[in-house]
Symmetry: C2
Subunit: 464 residues, 2 copies
C-alpha cells in the first residue's frame, strides 16, 4: 500500500529545510568557512492584541538538532540538485556540535528577546534555521492564543476542540500540546491523549441525534452506553425542547442510580440560551447537570458571554484557537548576531535597516520582579555582562550533547500557570494592554550605537 | 533518544480523531446499530474574497480510510478511557468496508457540493469524520489560496517559500504539494522536493551576506560555488549599491564564461526598486539577469506590484499563502444525509436550522459547460436522478477496496490548470467576483421541501 506518512521520520527532518539553507551551507563549505557563529531565534513584534508570548516548541527543536543526519537517500537527492561531491561527503559525516541556550517552555517572553541562541560552526547553525522557526512559530503562537482564551474563561474550563480544522496532522498534535501547556483542561484529539497524556473529552455530534428518528431516542441510546458521563447535545432541532428531553433522560438515569453529566449548546445566542437551559434544569433539581458550550468561540466571544452572565460551565474551543485565526503566524526570525574573526575573536553582527534592526552579540535576558514578586521589566544584555535580575536563557545543548532534562508536560503546564500568574493583570487584557518594558543594557546599547556608526560609514558610503 | 515524530505513523491515524467519534461509535455499537449511513463532506460557504475552491486532500483521505486499524496499544489506551470490552473487541477487527465517491483533486468546487461521499455502516462512516475534514481543510484551503496568487502573478512564476512559518511539519509538506497543484513552480521545502518530486528553489539569506565583512565578498563567495545559477540577495544594506555590486560579480562571471542567474529583493518598495534595478542591469547588458522578489507577498500585493509596472520575473510567496493568513480555515463539514430504515430502505436526513440547512439524500454534482466549453453552472441532484451535465463525483472505494488509481502529482496539477482555465475569468477576480450558479435539481428541491415540512411538524411541535 502507498504510504502517506512515511516521510515523517526524525531523520528526514534533515531535509525539512529551505533549499537556501543548503546552498548557503555549500558555499560556506566551498569557501572553507567553518568558523563558529551565533544566531538568535526571536520574535520581531507582537501580533495585534497580544502583549506577551507564551513560549513553546523547544522540545521538538532540540530533539531535531540531535537527530540531524543525512542518509544515502538524502545525499542521492541532493546530488541531483547539483551539490558537489565534496560537500555531500561533508554532509555524510554531519552532526550538530554546537552550543544552544534557550528559554524553557512555559516561559513568558517579549519581542526581540532571544528565545533560542545557537552557537556553532556557521554551516551547522545555518542549517538549523527552518526547523527551529517552524517549531517555535506554531507552538508559541498556539500557546499564546490559548492562554488568552483560558484567561477570558475566568476559571471555567476550556477544552481544545479544533482538530478537524487545524492545519494538518502535526498541527493537530502540537495544538493539543500547546493549548494544554497554556491551561486548557484537555483536548478532543485522542492521539494527543495517548501520545502526551493529555485528558481527552468529547460529547456527540448532530449526526448522532439525526440518525434516530426521535431526539429523545438518541439521548436514551447514548445514556445507555455512558450512564454516568453523558453530555447530550440539545440544539439539533430546538434548544428548549432539547433540554426538556435531556431532563427526562436525566430523571430516567436518576431512577437507575446514575447521573447525567451535562448538556451541550453548539449554536444560537449562547448567553441567553444557557440561562434558560440552566433554569429549566434547576427547576427540575438538576443543578448538577453541567452546561457545555461550543460554536465559533474565541477569547473575545467567551469574554462577551461571561459579561452577559452566560451560565456556562465549560467551553469547547476549536478552529479559531487551533489556527490562531486572527493572526495565524508569528514574526519569528533567526538572525546572525556574531561571527568569529580571523584572529579568533568574536565580531558582533547587526542588520541595519529602518524598522528591522537586529541586536548584535551573544545575549542574555534578565527579568526583574516587583515587591510582590510579579514581573516588572526585562533587560536584554550581552551574555558576559553583569546584570541584576533572573536570567531566562539556560544552556540546553553543549558541544552537540543534550544536557537539558526535558520537563514533563505537566511540569511545563505548571510553569506556564505560575508565569502567567506573575504577569501583572494589565498585560493580560484582551485588547489595549500596555507595552511590557524591555530595556537594553548599557553595554548592548553602546554596542548597537558603535555598530550603527561603523555600518553606515563603511558599507553605505564607500560601497565596494 | 526520545522520539519526537514516532507517533506519526499511518496506523496511529486511527486515533487521530475527536474523542466524540469514538463515544458515538461505542453507543452505536451498544445499541446494535450497524446499518449503513451516508455522510457528505462539503464546505458550507466561501471565505471572504474567494469565489471557488480548488479541491485537494483526497489522496491522504483515501489512504487513511485504507489504513484504519486498532493496535493493542490503541485498545489499551481506549480501555483506560472507559470503553467496554465488547466494543474494544469490535474495534480490534475493525476495517473500513464502505463505498466512497469523491471529486478528483484539482477539481473546481463550490459551497454545498459534496466533495467526498461516504456510505458505510454508521460506525465506520462516523469514525472517518475528523481525519477527512483535517485533510481536505488544509489542502483545499491552500490550493485555493495559491491558485489566487498564481492568477495574480499573470504568468510570472510563483515559488512557495513559507516553510518556516507554516503550521507544523505536515502543513509544511502539504502546503508545498497543494500550492504546486495550484500552479506554483516549486517550493523551498527540500523534503517536499524529495517526497513529491516538486522542483526546489532557494537563494540566500541576509545572514550569508552579513557573515562577510563586505557585501561583494559574500556575492563572490556564493558565485564561486554556484557560478551558473546564483541569485544574489541585494537588499541587506542598500538595494542600489547591492545591485551595482551584483553587476560587478556578473561581469566577473561573464569573463569566466558563466552567467549570473538573478538578484533578489526582499524589502522596501518592490515596484519602484525593481524598475531601478532592472535599468541598472540593462544598462550593463545584463538583461538576462532575472529579478526575484519576496517579502510579505500575497495575491493582493502581487496584483498591486504588477499594476504599478514592477519589473519582477519571479515571486517568492511565503507565510501569507502558506497559512492562508486572511482566512486560515474553511467551513468544511461532514454531515449525515441518509440512514437505512428498519425495512431496508434508505431514509434521507436533513438538519433543520435557520442558516445551516444540509442537503438530504445521496447526491451527485453535475457541471454544465457553455458554448465555449467553459464552466457555466452546476446542479446538485440526487444520485439516482437523471440529469444532464458532467458528473463530478467518481467512485473511489468500493466495499472498502480502493478502486481509484491515484493520478500523479503532475497530472493533478495539469487537471487543476485545465479546470482553472475553464473557469470564466470573472470568477477569478481577487475581490468582488460574482456568485457561480449552483442549482438544486427538481427532485432534490422537492425532497428538501417535503423533509422541511415533516421535521417542523413532527419534531418541533410535538416534542417527545
Amino acid at each position: 500500500m502507498k504510504s502517506f506518512l512515511g516521510y515523517l521520520k526524525e531523520e528526514n527532518m534533515s531535509l525539512f529545510t529551505d533549499f537556501y539553507e543548503l546552498t548557503m551551507c555549500a558555499s560556506y563549505f566551498d569557501n572553507k568557512n567553518f568558523e563558529p557563529a551565533t544566531f538568535d531565534l526571536f520574535i520581531r513584534r507582537l501580533p495585534e492584541n497580544r502583549s506577551y508570548f507564551l513560549f513553546a516548541g523547544l522540545e521538538d527543536a532540540l530533539l531535531y538538532l540531535q537527530s540531524i543526519k543525512f542518509t544515502d537517500e538524502h545525499l542521492a537527492f541532493l546530488k541531483k540538485q547539483g551539490f558537489k561531491e565534496d560537500f555531500l561527503d561533508y554532509l555524510r559525516g554531519f552532526r550538530f556540535t554546537g552550543n544552544v541556550w534557550a528559554v524553557p517552555e512555559g516561559a513568558i517572553a517579549f519581542p526581540n528577546e532571544p528565545l533560542i541562541r545557537v552557537t556553532a560552526p556557521i554551516i551547522e547553525a545555518q542549517l538549523a534555521e527552518t526547523f527551529l522557526l517552524n517549531s517555535v512559530n506554531l507552538q508559541t503562537m498556539i500557546a499564546t492564543k490559548a492562554s488568552r482564551v483560558v484567561h477570558a474563561a475566568k476559571g471555567k474550563s476550556v477544552i481544545e476542540f479544533g482538530l478537524r480544522r487545524e492545519q494538518g496532522i502535526d498541527a493537530g498534535m502540537k495544538v493539543a500540546r500547546s493549548s494544554y501547556i497554556a491551561g486548557c483542561q484537555g483536548t478532543s484529539n485522542v492521539l494527543a491523549g495517548q501520545t502526551y497524556g493529555i485528558p481527552v473529552f468529547g460529547t456527540m455530534a448532530h449526526s448522532f441525534i439525526m440518525s434516530y428518528s426521535k431526539e429523545i431516542d438518541a439521548f436514551r441510546a447514548f445514556a445507555k452506553t455512558f450512564p454516568n458521563k453523558s453530555t447530550l447535545l440539545i440544539d439539533t432541532y430546538d434548544d428548549i425542547s432539547g433540554v426538556e428531553k435531556a431532563a427526562v433522560v436525566a430523571k430516567e438515569l436518576e431512577a437507575k442510580g446514575f447521573r447525567l453529566g451535562g448538556v451541550r449548546l453548539d449554536s444560537g445566542d449562547l448567553a441567553q440560551t444557557s440561562k434558560k437551559v440552566r433554569k429549566i434544569l434547576d427547576d427540575q433539581d438538576l443543578a448538577y447537570v453541567k452546561i457545555f458550550a461550543s460554536g465559533d468561540l474565541d477569547e473575545f466571544k467567551i469574554e462577551e458571554l461571561l459579561s452577559k452572565g452566560a451560565r456556562i460551565d465549560s467551553f469547547g474551543v476549536g478552529t479559531k484557537m487551533g489556527t490562531s485565526a486572527d493572526r495565524p503566524y508569528l514574526d519569528v526570525i533567526y538572525k546572525l548576531c556574531e561571527t568569529m574573526t580571523a584572529d579568533g575573536g568574536f565580531s558582533p553582527i547587526m542588520k541595519l535597516s529602518k524598522d528591522k534592526i537586529t541586536l548584535p552579540g551573544r545575549k542574555q535576558v534578565y527579568r526583574f520582579m516587583d515587591a510582590a514578586e510579579n514581573f516588572e521589566k526585562d533587560t536584554i544584555a550581552l551574555a558576559d555582562e553583569k546584570v541584576e535580575g533572573e536570567p531566562l536563557l539556560v544552556k540546553v545543548i553543549e558541544k552537540g550533547r543534550l544536557i537539558y532534562k526535558f520537563p514533563s508536560l505537566g511540569d511545563i503546564r505548571a510553569t506556564a500557570t505560575e508565569n502567567l500568574s506573575k504577569l501583572p493583570e494589565e498585560y493580560k487584557a484582551l485588547t489595549g494592554a500596555p507595552v511590557y518594558p524591555v530595556e537594553l543594557s548599557r553595554n548592548l546599547l553602546n554596542l548597537v550605537k558603535t555598530l550603527k556608526r561603523q555600518l553606515t560609514i563603511t558599507e553605505i558610503n564607500h560601497g565596494f
